[in-house]
């Protein structure tokens, strides 16, 4: 087991290193002189040169990389190019924690719901409930997020807006544009709809996976053994079948956390939610803010790698056949 974890850790560090080189190279390969971009077209050659020296752009690439990576690791992520020049680290971490909140809420809704639906579908393979669940989830997943997002805004937020309970709670606002530094309880009402939209994206995948897992496990010999022990069907399913059927599901859920934190660009845009995805699109890419892009990409890579690492670990923990090797 330790060997397994160590191997994964080495892999983790290596991947992070390679991506950091790629991210660094990307910003250097792009056309245009950073110093000139910063100072504007009118700046004198001397000023540009001075700026280049200030930024260390005159040094060899390897030195530049080591400096950049060193700063990044020690927590100095620089400031944004665009004004007002904010500290990138504070900005990114604040947005990332917003994203993490939304991801957590999404998982809280999506996981129990999709597992329940998947198990029902799997147990009733080929019958009505199976067909209904499959058709429903598949038709939802075929819609792009901006469609489901806009649909939710139109029906729930605008259509139910006058609902006294929703009013009282302040739930389901049409726009989720909250203050970036809002506390969790302040942010919660505005997070429901984006979380539901994200759930709809994940739902079909997890349901299909759980369904397939349940159907496959039900065919196994140990299920017959369990039934013929006289165990109630509920115990057979929950204790014997699910333990094995959910192993692949757990790892997929862990992996999808990476996407939930860093990849919900569309949903965040539709609902104007201040997460990491919107920061990347609106602030970093639109303004060609290279240090900000670098920071977000590096963080994203780290999150996805950690999610995959966790998935591997969970898989090994849940599966005694791997755990003991």
């Amino acid at each position: 087991m330790t060997r397994f974890i160590l191997r994964r850790l080495v892999f983790f560090v290596l991947t992070l290193f390679i991506t950091s080189v790629l991210v660094f190279a990307l910003t250097r390969i792009l056309p245009g002189d950073v110093a000139r971009v910063l100072l504007g077209r009118e700046a004198s050659p001397e000023a540009v040169q001075a700026k280049r020296e200030e930024l260390g752009l005159d040094k060899p690439l390897a030195v530049q990389y080591v400096n950049w990576a060193g700063d990044f690791i020690t927590g100095d992520w620089g400031t944004t190019y665009s004004t007002p020049r904010e500290d990138i680290r504070d900005l990114v971490i604040q947005r990332a924690s917003n994203s993490a909140r939304l991801a957590a809420l999404t998982l809280l809704i999506a996981v129990p719901l999709s597992i329940t639906l998947g198990v029902i579908a799997g147990l009733s393979e080929g019958r009505f409930a199976d067909g209904a669940i499959s058709i429903l989830t598949l038709s939802v997943v075929s819609l792009p997020e901006f469609v489901t997002g806009l649909f939710l805004i139109n029906t729930v937020a605008l259509g139910w807006g006058d609902n006294p309970i929703a009013d009282r709670l302040g739930w389901f606002p049409a726009s989720s544009a909250i203050r970036a530094d809002a506390s969790f309880s302040e942010a919660l009402p505005a997070m429901w709809l984006p979380a539901v939209a994200a759930t709809l994206v994940l739902l079909a995948y997890i349901v299909r996976l759980v369904r397939a897992g349940v159907i496959e496990e039900l065919k196994k010999g140990y299920v017959r053994t369990a039934v013929l022990k006289g165990l109630p069907y509920r115990v057979v399913v929950v204790k014997h079948v699910l333990r094995n059927a959910l192993i692949p599901t757990v790892t997929v859920i862990a992996t999808s956390t990476g996407w939930l934190i860093s990849g919900m660009v569309v949903i965040e845009s539709v609902f104007s939610y201040p997460g990491l995805g919107r920061l990347l699109i609106n602030n970093a890419i639109d303004n060609r803010d290279l240090p900000l892009i670098q920071a977000i990409v590096m963080l994203t890579v780290a999150v996805i790698l950690i999610a995959n690492f966790t998935a591997d670990l969970l898989y090994a923990l849940l599966n005694p056949r791997i755990r003991l090797e």
Binding site: T2, R3, L6, R7, K220, G221, Y222, R224, T225, A226, V227, L228, K229, G230, L231, P232, Y233, K239, H240, R243, N244, I247, L318, N319, P320, R321, L324
Partner: protein, 694 residues
């Protein structure tokens, strides 16, 4: 004590159908059976005979597309099970009725500790609390002779060997002291040595518990050794029902007679007589013959057999479904006259022939990946020594039989010789010419000379090629047959393996298992090879089909002067076909001799254990019980000295643990590698002598 002898189970008129497409296929018709306490009732049949379906019907546990027909009666402890709800059955299953399934690996939940898997059935059906259930589990593990039962509680199924898994399942099914135990081919997936131990265990436990038991199997040998009564099923119907003694001594149904004749007996060789195969194949349940279901294959079928024979009772406690049972009983008709003589080339193997294949010091070690700990300590983990210095020779036109348990390295040896796996060391010479490592390095003529027939024809034939296409390739590539002559050659090959030439256009999916294996044999013979490696070629086939394939192999060998290296776990089969015999244990050969040496001492102690473990199809043959303790050691950690010393019943002492045993030779070409002298072994092994059976 009249109450004691009341039957546990009384089945009457049980019919079960499966819905396939829109039709209901009758899988079992009119099944009946009565099991008394302490009695083991054998249910025998080939695949498709409905034996497992009948067992499932008795347990009221059918797949979703199965149904028990109205009118069926399954009375368990005097109560009819038919009207019982699922909930009511849940109180019977596990408590009063237990199942020991066929595939022990799949029947245990891979992610739950085995202790819990046994304990949960106790908590469900008894008032035992957690600690008491645990205690009872340990006690059950002890009763099924599992070593270190306390430590076993926390193990996962994959950490146990097949035999241990099956013992856990037996412990599980007996934990609640059920009144009826159903055993569905519980030893089919196990080695013969393990099988023998499990059968002993089942016999003793059933006797001790006084439960009734139904033992479903295809193996008549197991029935003879274990059961009191037996019912023979064919195509879903009872053919015959009798006590085991009566059935084996005086079978009344032509199918039973055919089955008994088709099994090679220990001591029988291809030179004595051809095996009496049953022609044809079992009917499809969807298109059953109108009269007697067995009539299309029955050599005694006459006009009246086109009408359905009733199930008659020739004597008290006997049933038979045949129009001609009286004639058979009086000896007026016999199947014996159909018996063919043995292979004409019946020259005894006295004269040695030239060596065709010579294997010298062959080794195959599989390296084990170095872990981090090994690298840090600079260690190299011990490799898996699958084949560890093997010398053997195969003579022209002869069969060398290779036997051993799984894990003995026999399949690896075959794969190295055929070139599917690279070797670690040693030499292989074919007709005096060195054969390079893998198929990749061998030239066409070597490939043509060396062919192989695999265990499972399901996997060894490409499902997308017709039989003709499968045969065409070796004919063109290896036998260099001219393109315009290929079709004629394909027809000739098919005729040789007793298939009609039309089979050339069929796909493997349209063939039965026996027919597929015939195609595989035809393919092996296509390049007119000098040597064919047969790796368990009949072990996936039904008994009645097995005999025909063995006869075919013997005939083709005589006609083409081909050599075989024949690997099998079934000693009777090897004894029947092999001229010479090699016994392998943990990658090394421990005995070399003639095929017939299998039947009389001295043997190597390991061979003796293999021979005495065979469940022989003769209820009177109470072979001496030589049972091996424990499982075969890991080939990563091979015992020092004689590799067999950890399990040997005739161990001398420290010398066996320290020194490699010497080869001992009786002067006639029979070699045994043992620290004991041959006369010593022979004396100790008198009890295992196989008396001549007919």
């Amino acid at each position: 004590m009249a109450q004691h002898s009341d039957p546990v189970l009384h089945v009457d008129n049980l019919s079960i159908s499966y819905k396939v497409g829109r039709r209901w296929i009758p899988a079992v018709r009119d099944f009946q059976l009565e099991v008394c306490p302490g009695q083991i009732y054998g249910v025998v049949g080939e695949s498709g005979s409905g034996k497992s379906t009948a067992a499932a019907g008795i347990m009221r546990y059918l797949p979703a597309n199965g149904r028990i027909e109205p009118g069926s009666r399954v009375a368990f402890l005097g109560e009819d099970l038919a009207p019982k709800s699922r909930r009511a059955m849940e109180r019977i299953w596990g408590a009063q009725m237990g199942l020991v399934p066929q595939d022990p690996g799949g029947a245990l939940n891979p992610s739950i500790r085995v202790g819990e898997q046994v304990a949960e059935i106790l908590r469900r059906h008894t008032t035992l609390d957690r600690a008491a259930a645990r205690e009872r589990t340990v006690e059950m593990f002890r009763r099924v002779q599992l070593a270190d039962p306390d430590a076993l509680l926390t193990r996962y199924p994959h950490e146990l060997s097949g035999g241990m898994q099956q013992r856990v399942l037996i412990a599980m099914s007996l934990a609640t002291s059920p009144r009826l135990l159903l055993l569905d081919e519980p030893t089919t997936a196990l080695d013969v040595t393990t099988e023998a131990i499990i059968l002993d265990l089942v016999r003793n436990l059933i006797a001790a518990e006084g439960a009734g038991a139904i033992y479903v199997t295809h193996n008549l040998g197991v029935v003879a050794q274990l059961c009191e009564r037996v019912v023979v099923l064919y195509a879903g119907e009872i053919m015959e029902d009798a006590t085991v003694a009566e059935l084996f001594a005086a079978p009344r149904h032509p199918y039973t007679i055919g089955l008994l004749n088709s099994i090679p007996r220990l001591g029988q060789t291809k030179r004595d007589a051809a095996l009496q195969a049953i022609a044809g194949r079992p009917p499809s349940l969807a298109e059953l013959p109108r009269g007697c279901v067995y009539a299309p294959r029955c050599p005694l079928a006459i006009e009246i057999c086109r009408t359905k024979p009733p199930l008659e009772a020739p004597a008290e406690g006997r049933l038979v479904r045949c129009h001609r049972w009286q004639e058979i009983a009086r000896g007026e008709v016999s199947l014996r006259e159909q018996a063919q003589a043995g292979i004409e080339d019946a020259a005894p193997v006295t004269g040695d022939r030239e060596e065709l294949l010579e294997v010298t010091d062959l080794t195959k070690h599989f390296p084990v990946q170095r872990g981090l700990r090994n690298i840090l300590r600079g260690e190299h983990p011990a490799p898996v020594r699958a084949v560890d210095g093997v010398n053997l020779g195969v003579q022209k036109g002869r069969t060398l039989g290779l036997v051993g348990e799984s894990g003995s390295g026999k399949t690896t040896l075959a794969r190295v010789i055929i070139g599917l796996t690279d070797r670690t060391g040693g030499e292989i010479e074919l007709m005096g010419i060195d054969v390079p490592g893998t198929v990749r390095d061998r030239d066409k003529s070597t490939l043509a000379q060396l062919q192989m027939v695999f265990q499972n024809p399901q996997n060894s034939l490409n499902p997308y090629l017709t039989v003709g296409q499968a045969l065409r390739r070796p004919l063109i590539k290896l036998a260099k047959v001219a393109p315009d002559a290929v079709d004629a050659e394909i027809r000739r090959l098919l005729t040789e393996v007793n298939l009609r030439p039309e089979y050339a256009d069929r796909y493997p999916g349209e063939l039965s298992g026996g027919e597929k294996q015939r195609v595989a044999i035809a393919r092996a013979f296509a390049s007119n090879p000098a040597l064919i490696l047969c790796d368990e070629p009949v072990s996936s086939l039904d008994v009645s089909v097995q005999a025909a394939v063995l006869n075919l192999l013997a005939r083709l060998q005589a006609e083409h002067d081909t050599s075989y290296l024949f690997i099998s776990h079934d000693l009777a089969v090897v004894g029947y076909l092999a001229d010479y015999l090699v016994v392998m244990y943990l990658g090394v050969i421990y005995e070399v001799g003639y095929g017939s040496d299998l039947f009389r001492p001295p043997y190597h102690p390991y061979t003796e254990a293999l021979v005495s473990a065979i469940p022989r199809p003769n209820p009177d043959a109470h072979s001496a019980r030589v049972r091996l303790s424990g499982d075969i050691p890991s080939p990563r950690d091979i015992p020092t000295g004689c590799r067999f010393h950890t399990r040997c019943p005739h161990k001398v002492g420290a010398i066996c643990e320290q020194e490699e045993p010497p080869w001992r030779d009786d002067g006639s070409g029979h070699f045994i590698r043992c620290h004991r002298e041959l006369w010593d072994l022979a004396e100790r092994q008198q009890a295992t002598r196989i008396e001549e059976e007919d």
